[in-house]
Symmetry: C2
Subunit: 228 residues, 2 copies
């Protein structure tokens, strides 16, 4: 492991600008990692997310923050990148008991982002990756489930020089079993700049959350629950 | 499966501009697929590759050719994307018995490119992916081995709406057990425009192959063997 050469272990976190990934970054710091953040500029509707990611990286004094540009609009297939599909509002596509996959699902997104994180980690000598998937996401997004996470870790260790040569990668998902209110509580404990984060699927140009999409409603409920 | 709605099955191929992936594209056509090609503009030294990919796509009359731009130079770690690392010449880093991983290895490249192909396939209603990995690559590149291919197919079917809903993806590697001379023979049988393809790791600006890198030497040997 790198720890024989470096005084601090390095980890790569996928930083979206939302509450969850910011909490994961702070959690990695508490675990003793030097944190290298990766954000993907994938032609999303809300580039305001990337600005939030930059603010979070600065506020937490992360070791490094790389923003990779990748224009997924040519691929299409999601309400978050395809401007011809409306973001659903006021209906519960994130409901834990719903079986339908929401239109905000981006084809192969976590596979793709984790692949980028893996390449970044390998190039920087990190053996730990982290992503902010959590229980409420499982209902709709196949690439947030524990079996997906396990399959990706398995792939990472077959795909890379580090994995093949016996220095395996570990994929951390510290929020996996947490509800939104528990994530919010953890974020506050860890000193995450919650106000700087944005999770809205459809913010205004100046970064104001819509308050109506699934992500906003989930967050409002958590705030209310924590305060009650 | 999509074949109930479409008259032709669709497949996505990763098209690099090299001989191998062009042969895979033509193989898919012979298998009855409508072929959608994906090339990745990843800040490689030799953008001449992308021009070759465009020529191959046109010559084979592929249904579609998407070039996705992704600047991996910020990630670093490979002689093919990091301009401070020299491409090895005249030494056998592709030797089937060599155990070292060559410096032309790009961290997590096939994982990343296959993830892009998977997203593209899902968005276009294709359930078949194909990549031109082959036996001689196994020596050095972990992400060309059959166990990696199997792990990616497994991941794809956990990661996606299509996989989860029972319409699984298949990852084809028709060149897996072929030597370079056998690939060249197949390419000629299938009418691949061999002259338009380029596999050199370090071509001149006008697209002339260097003749000295591993990839050039492997191809020259195959041509000589086929003609002898």
């Amino acid at each position: 492991m790198d720890s024989t050469q470096d005084t601090r272990k390095r980890a790569v976190v996928l930083l979206s600008g939302g509450l969850d990934s910011a909490t994961v970054a702070a959690w990695l710091q508490r675990e003793g990692f030097e944190v290298h953040a990766l954000s993907v500029d994938y032609g999303q509707r809300h580039s305001i997310e990337l600005e939030a990611a930059r603010k979070v990286a600065r506020a937490l004094s992360l070791a490094d923050h790389l923003v990779l540009k990748l224009d997924l609009r040519g691929v299409g297939g999601s309400a978050l990148t395809d401007f011809s599909i409306d973001v659903p509002k006021g209906e519960s596509t994130m409901d834990p008991v719903a079986s339908d996959i929401p239109s905000t699902y981006v084809p192969a997104r976590n596979t793709l982002f984790l692949s980028l994180a893996l390449g970044f980690a390998e190039a920087r000598g990190a053996h730990d990756l982290a992503i902010g998937v959590n229980a409420l996401d499982y209902s709709g997004y196949p690439d947030c489930r524990p079996e997906f996470i396990q399959a990706f870790e398995n792939l990472a260790n077959l795909a890379t020089r580090e994995g093949v040569e016996g220095r395996p990668f570990k994929l951390h998902t510290p929020l996996q079993d947490l509800r939104k209110v528990e994530i919010l509580r953890l974020a506050k404990e860890l000193g995450v700049p919650v106000k700087e984060t944005i999770s809205c699927y459809d913010p205004s140009k100046n970064g104001t959350a819509c308050g109506l999409c699934d992500s906003c409603r989930l967050r409002s409920q958590a705030v209310a629950e924590l305060e009650s």
